[in-house]
């Protein structure tokens, strides 16, 4: 298929502002009379606030107010409160905010506030609370109970509660030692097929424990917010990945009618899953500003961002994998204890789903639970569950493959999910897959066979390792609204309510509308990022979801515009609607193209006609946000607004495969990545430069998870050891390869009008998995059974001092 726009590079409108410094983020806005608020955070990991004495602080000149949990609607565990009072559950948890005429005064005031705390027992390793008699992170227990089966992983939706789950000491000891604990209770489980019978048919069966340690998102822009109220309206400058999907939720949080909330967020300095939906602190910013009746900026420091900026869940798990003599995975049994921190949910089921899709086992069983600890709250982080599973699974599958005498790429190829692949406990279908071709493409570009033939020993102290890894995430949804307006000047205003988290997908998806309208990109104007730009209800920007979902909504809006233009033209020039075509930014009679209107003319006609043509009448199935926007624009041009009701069946998959070559120094435990090759299977390439960004950025995230980043907590006092960036260790320029190679299958998904699906999450999963595989390969197939694998662990292994790898401890070095 030949496209005008799809598959071609373009310059997104926000890039120039990013390179000139004019792009503004929430923290860059000022308003007359604005006060500065700062947080006082908990020094203790567990307990409650007994009393607050703020008299000294309030007496300070320049201090204008203090905002506490008492100023917010009450919340009960496991909901993660913006400000804690009765349930302090981690060090760094915000207790109150102080507003002052300057940041200096606010910070000085914080030091003058005396808080009396009551301490409670605390725990930083899930297995330490799971054991009978072990401390509970909340007074009422240690685990999330989902009362509604639909509650999504990584969120604390309503319908959840805190309950208690305990194992015997023997069961804990067994699990820590890497064995499945008999008779232990679990929080959730699913299975399909006859697991035992399929294991019986397997010729290679291995059992391995694994640990993945959580890590903070540390988005470079912290979640600073600024709010002010004028004439009953709340204007909120925030930092979210999504613009409109959380509108009603944010309105509730700041206590305003959704129609009176103007959310402004043109740029977002990274989110990685932590800013998909409104987060608790936004309630403080909005309500505190209202209480003071002054513009208020609540700046979140880097340390605060560590505390409240979300983090990936950790996993402590056990897996048993069986291969048949033909290399097919016959059965998988997996058990995962997820570290949900002090809030949020763990991602064990999503982790298990990764195994189910990537290896297509004939039968599979998953058992899991989500346990709280007194560590920072967890939430979605780039492929939550799937990517950390990919990381630890890859070397484990390598071990099975080696035992079965299979090449590591061949093992993946044999089990690769093709178009008939099934996924998860219900063994549902997928929309399409060219993943087997992606493996071949990666092997070709990387030169797998040639690299496999290279000597492992490079020099006396340097060894080579090569590895392969796979990433998967569901990559698309449906049911959101598309909205566009053709103005009488001929400009096509493409409205989107997806956020701008930095992938440029907000703009790329709108090119599907331009494609359908066959209009030039230069005549298109993107409307986004500001509530007063009349935005539609668009998808959440996260979970590799935007490209598929929003090309569909863009497309249906364009179809609605075309229908309306043809109707207008047919009414004026005669004939049936179907007798009309579009092209060259005109609608015209197919048999006589002199009969027709330019887009500018048809927009003017739409205004004259009114009704559905210019927004006075609109479809009932539109979301309220979209309806408000249509109403606000009525009479200003041809308004096209439609909900995406295009057919969608099965799961929309995003896949990626990566191959890595490293040179590992056996005397220092350090390694260099000599080659990184990532291939995306995300349907048609919509925006080549954007895709490269996604693949390479995901690659860097993968290297971080594999080798550098993790939570470390002191179990004696609940203190986090790596709050700051220099301690959290996100990869730098010198920790990643000098060049990164990426590509894509570029084959269309039939359920997207332009064939495209998302890739944001698999791009990390494939990289972390490939690097873990390569490290194992360099060390003769040694399994560390955990992420990250740091230099000290490699050194300990080589020195035959298997110091850290002997048990399933988490949040530790």
């Amino acid at each position: 298929m030949t496209f005008m726009h799809i598959g071609k590079d373009f310059t997104p409108p926000d890039v120039e502002g990013k390179v000139t410094g004019t792009a503004r983020y929430a923290e860059d806005f000022r308003r007359d009379g604005m006060v500065f608020a700062r947080l006082l955070t908990s020094p203790i990991p567990s307990g409650r606030v007994v009393s607050i004495d703020a008299s000294e602080a309030l007496a300070m000149p320049g201090v204008v107010g203090i905002f506490t949990a008492d100023d917010l609607p009450p919340s009960a565990p496991p909901a993660n409160p913006a400000l804690a009072k009765d349930f302090i559950t981690y060090v760094g948890q915000p207790i109150l905010a102080v507003a002052a005429e300057s940041e200096e005064i606010a910070e000085a005031a914080i030091e003058r506030i005396a808080i009396e705390f009551e301490r409670r027992p605390f725990v930083v390793d899930p297995l330490d609370t799971l054991v009978e008699g072990g401390p509970d992170p909340y007074p009422m227990g240690n685990t999330l109970i989902r009362e509604g089966a639909a509650a999504a992983a990584g969120t604390t939706a309503s319908g959840t509660a805190v309950g208690s789950i305990k194992w015997t000491r023997d069961q804990i000891a067994s699990f820590r030692a890497g064995r499945f604990p008999t008779g232990a209770p679990w929080g959730e489980e699913w299975a399909y097929g006859d697991v035992d019978a399929n294991f019986a048919q397997c010729t290679t069966v291995i059992e391995e424990p694994f640990v993945t340690i959580g890590l903070p998102h540390h988005s470079l822009e912290s979640r600073t917010g600024m709010a002010y109220w004028e004439n009953g309206k709340c204007y909120f400058h925030g930092s979210l990945q999504s613009q409109t999907v959380g509108h009603a939720q944010l309105a509730r949080m700041v206590d305003v009618d959704p129609a009176n909330l103007v959310f402004i967020n043109e740029n977002t300095g990274g989110g990685f899953g932590s800013k998909i939906f409104p987060y608790p602190m936004m309630a403080v910013t909005g309500r505190f500003a209202k209480a003071l009746n002054r513009p208020l900026q609540l700046r979140i420091t880097r340390a605060d961002e560590f505390y409240i900026g979300s983090a990936r869940s950790g996993m402590q798990g056990w897996i048993k994998v069986g291969l048949r003599d033909n290399g097919r995975v016959g059965a998988v049994d997996i058990a995962i204890i997820g570290d949900a921190g002090s809030g949020g949910g763990a991602s064990g089921s999503s982790a298990a789903e990764h195994v189910s899709i990537m290896y297509q086992p004939e039968a599979m069983r998953y058992r899991g639970m989500s346990l709280y600890t007194n560590t920072t709250p967890r939430g979605a982080q780039r492929g939550p569950g799937q990517n950390e599973m990919a990381a630890v699974l890859s070397p484990i599958m390598d071990k099975a493959g080696r035992q079965a005498g299979l090449d590591l790429v061949e093992l993946r190829r044999i089990n690769a999910p093709g178009p008939d692949a099934l996924i998860g406990p219900r063994q549902g279908t997928i929309s399409s897959s060219y993943y087997p071709q992606a493996i071949d493409q990666a092997a070709e570009l990387f030169g797998w066979e040639a690299k496999k033939a290279l000597p492992r020993q490079i020099s006396a102290t340097k060894v080579r390792g090569i590895g392969v890894g796979e990433g998967y995430h569901s990559a698309g949804a449906s049911g959101y609204d598309g909205l566009l307006r053709i103005a009488p000047d001929g400009k096509i205003h493409l409205h989107t309510g997806v956020g701008n988290l930095g992938t440029y997908s907000y703009a790329a998806v709108l090119r599907a509308a331009a494609e359908t309208l066959q209009c030039s990109w230069e005549n298109c104007v993107i409307e986004h990022g500001h509530g007063e730009n009349h935005l539609p209800h668009s998808t959440y920007q996260g979970g590799s979801n935007t490209i598929f979902t929003e090309t569909r909504s863009s497309h249906v809006a364009a179809l609605d515009a075309i229908r309306k233009m043809k109707q207008i033209a047919a009414a004026d020039f005669g004939g049936a609607v179907d007798d009309y075509s579009i092209g060259g930014e005109r609608v015209f009679l197919s048999s006589d193209n002199s009969k027709g209107y330019t887009y500018a003319e048809v927009a003017q006609k739409a205004i004259e006609l009114g009704g559905e043509y210019s927004g006075q009448v609109f479809a009932e199935d539109l979301n309220d946000t979209t309806k408000r926007s249509v109403q606000a624009m009525q009479g200003t041009g041809l308004i096209a607004a439609a909900k995406d009701t295009l057919p969608k069946t099965g799961t929309t998959p995003g896949f990626a495969v990566a191959m890595v070559e490293i040179e590992l120094d056996t005397e220092t435990g350090k390694f260099d990545i000599l080659d990184y090759t990532g291939i995306a299977e995300c349907g048609t390439i919509i925006h080549p430069k954007g895709l490269r960004q996604a693949m390479n950025g995901g690659g860097v995230w993968g290297f971080g998870m594999a080798a550098y980043e993790r939570h470390v907590y002191d179990p004696q006092n609940g203190l986090p050891a790596n709050v700051g960036l220099y301690q959290a260790k996100p990869p730098t320029y010198l920790d990643v390869p000098l060049h990164m190679k990426s590509g894509a299958t570029d084959m269309p998904d039939p359920q997207s009008p332009v064939g495209s699906r998302g890739i944001g999450e698999p791009s990390q999963g494939c990289a972390v998995a490939a690097l873990m595989s390569a490290i194992s390969d360099a060390l003769d197939g040694h399994l560390f059974n955990r992420t990250p694998v740091t230099a000290d662990m490699i050194l300990n292994h080589i020195a035959q001092n298997d110091f850290n790898t002997g048990d399933l401890k988490t949040n530790t070095f």
Binding site: D9, T11, D14, V15, E16, G17, K18, T20, G21, T22, E27, D28, D32, G33, V35, G62, V63, V64, F67, D70, D71, L96, E101, S102, E104, I105, H218, S219, L220, N267, T268, G269, G270, F272, K290, A291, N293, R294, P295, T301, R302, G502, T503, Y504, G690, R692, Q693, N696, G697, V700, G724, L725, P730, P731, T732, Y733, L734, V736, L738, H739
Partner: protein
Amino acid sequence: MNPKLTRRRFIKGVIASGAAAASTSLWYSVSGQNRPAGSVERLLSINVNGQVRRVDVSPQETLAHTLRYKLGLTGTKLGCNRGECGSCTVLADDVNIYACSTLTHEVKNKAVLTVEGLRAADGTLHPVQAAFIEELSPQCGFCTSGQIMSAVALLNTNPRPTREEARQALSGNLCRCGAYDHYLNGVMRASGQLS
């Protein structure tokens, strides 16, 4: 506000926003009352982006703070405010430094250049800016100003760096999105080595 009367409330009193002073005015009157005699003069003339700006700077104030809060130059970002990310990178006498970890009083005799000062007088983008657009180097954009300033510092002294030299020179700029490859492509393009 929750209306429950039993709850403690700490708002000192509502001030109509129209009546409030600009946020900076009170700053000066409150800050620095206990300073020992003989400390530095607060009123400074600093050269920023080729202009001499007269500004009241407290002794301990960081350059990032002065730029962002006093001079309205918000292109310089605060990613960590402690020299661990590079988002606040600016040039002082052509040397790239962290504005969050520099006192404004330390640069009073230096020429400070921020991302806002890179355009030519006729509005033309600096070659690094143009190249970063062409290569779609930024992702979220939050670290971009700092990346650009380090790239400008490099090209001022080494107009045709190797890719390895470029990454060494930019290595004090963290990119959480992981756009390193793309920034390096931008540097190579800006130096005329990529077409």
